[in-house]
């Protein structure tokens, strides 16, 4: 009964690839932004903060449409990228990864920001009196102490990315083998007369992935607390 067909496998592997790439590429940006929001005061900070959270509250179809307008083949940025650098996002799996990265970004940034805010700044002062330059303080104290938060953010971002549907399907459509992720495959299957059992299998698989991500995230959060208490 639980026989996964090649088309389903394709969707599962594509989802994993899209979500993993989206998370790995977004993480450095997420850390930089989280640090900026946690540590710096600058003009426009609340606007930036709101912009980061925007994908969380906007209808996903709006985010997808905005991506299409800017990064589609005829979009301003998209046309320039295609012409000068040969990078095309529209209707490619890379576009799916981009859409997933944008949609999961708020969930990635938040735990990182919280863990940076929780770091005792006096430890960073101690580090500088021991001769550490600001980048060394960041690399040897801030980053390691924020690591559990970073991992938690990555797990949450990954879980969001793997389940993303609205923005992805709007931006890169639903092409089997190229942009058809688990979510869009389920969507197609439940519109097909005899697609129910296949849809059911994919639903189960996405529940398993999401549960796994949440449990992992919880575990990392617990590690964070232990780490900050030095045990």
């Amino acid at each position: 009964m639980f026989e996964i067909s090649p088309t389903e496998w394709t969707a599962i592997l594509l989802s994993l690839r899209v979500a993993i790439i989206a998370t790995l590429v977004a993480t450095p940006f997420g850390i930089a932004l989280a640090w900026l929001l946690a540590r710096r005061n600058f003009w426009g900070k609340s606007i930036l903060d709101a912009a980061v959270h925007l994908p969380l509250v906007l209808p996903p179809v709006v985010t997808g449409y905005l991506l299409l307008l800017t990064l589609g083949r005829r979009g301003m940025v998209g046309a320039w990228l295609a012409e000068n650098l040969g990078i095309v996002f529209a209707f490619r799996w890379t576009g799916a990864a981009l859409a997933c990265g944008v949609m999961s970004f708020p969930l990635l940034v938040r735990p990182i920001r919280l863990s940076i805010e929780a770091i005792d700044r006096r430890l960073e002062q101690a580090s500088s009196t021991l001769g550490a330059a600001p980048w060394q303080v960041f690399a040897t104290v801030t980053l390691p102490l924020a690591l559990p938060g970073i991992l938690a953010g990555m797990v949450l971002g990954f879980a969001k990315a793997i389940g993303e549907f609205g923005a992805t399907i709007t931006f890169v459509s639903n092409i089997p083998g190229e942009t058809q992720t688990i979510s869009s495959a389920i969507y197609s299957l439940i519109q097909t007369p005899d697609g129910d059992s296949a849809a059911g299998r994919l639903v189960l698989i996405s529940i398993v992935i999401a549960m796994g991500a949440l449990i992992a995230s919880e575990w990392f959060a617990r590690r964070a607390t232990q780490r900050l208490h030095g045990n």
């Binding site: 002062q125 580090s127 009196t129 021991l130 550490a132 780490r227 208490h229 030095g230």
Partner: protein, 224 residues
């Protein structure tokens, strides 16, 4: 030789302090809230004076007239905080080695084992800070500061968070440290402690220096 002549406004409170120290251990004495910690934070470079000059052995660390400010990590001034501030994600051995790594100093096993013996922390090397007692933590913090080979050692009430029994335990180590010859600025509100350790006293009250001189100036100092 350390020369400090600074002014700093901190909310309602202001510091205007000037002193020169040539003694091996300068005791900065005053009640809590007298501005002792702010003053040594300025020496460490963690706090910038509004106005004034700080020099160490002829090198200008701060001079607000010229805008000179050497950042803390280039001062080579060790700092032992009241709350130790060991890095919780590193074990004792890595904490001790931290300053050497950051300053890119060559490995010096002889000095390391001497400091470890001096402070009796050889048995703690594989532990995490969370598994140490208050007194042990403070000894490791002393070792960590020493091993960064500072030109000057700042100590902010290193016994302040310890109970009487622990103080008696640490004091001999501090006296050994004094005899190592690294100049120190030792902050305390405890006259008895300073009488045992300091060679020169700077008395601070409400952010102003009220007395300077040998440990004799502590005589008759109001108990705090």
């Amino acid at each position: 030789m350390l020369r400090v002549d600074v002014a700093k406004q901190l909310g309602e409170f202001s510091i205007e302090a000037s002193f020169t120290s040539e003694g091996r251990v300068t005791g900065l004495f005053g009640a809590s809230g007298a501005g002792k910690t702010s003053l040594i934070n300025m020496i460490a470079g963690l706090l910038r004076p509004d106005r004034g000059v700080i020099t160490l052995d002829g090198e200008t660390l701060d001079n607000t007239a010229t805008g000179a400010h050497v950042p803390p990590h280039r001062r080579r001034i060790g700092y032992v905080f009241q709350d130790a501030r060991l890095f919780p994600h590193l074990d004792v051995r890595q904490n001790l080695d931290y300053g050497r790594r950051m300053n890119r100093l060559a490995d010096d096993p002889a000095q390391r084992s001497r400091v470890i013996d001096l402070l009796d922390i050889g048995g703690l090397l594989d532990r995490r800070p969370g598994q140490l007692s208050g007194g042990e933590r403070q000894r490791v913090a002393l070792g960590r500061a020493l091993l960064s080979k500072p030109r000057l050692l700042l100590m902010d009430e290193p016994l302040g968070s310890l109970d009487e029994g622990r103080k008696v335990e640490i004091l001999p180590y501090l006296m050994r440290l004094r005899d190592e010859g690294i100049p120190m600025v030792y902050v305390s509100h405890d006259a008895a402690e300073l009488r045992q350790l300091a060679t020169q006293i700077v008395m601070l009250r409400n952010g102003r220096v009220t007395a300077l001189g040998g440990v004799k100036v502590l005589t008759g100092a109001a108990p705090v």
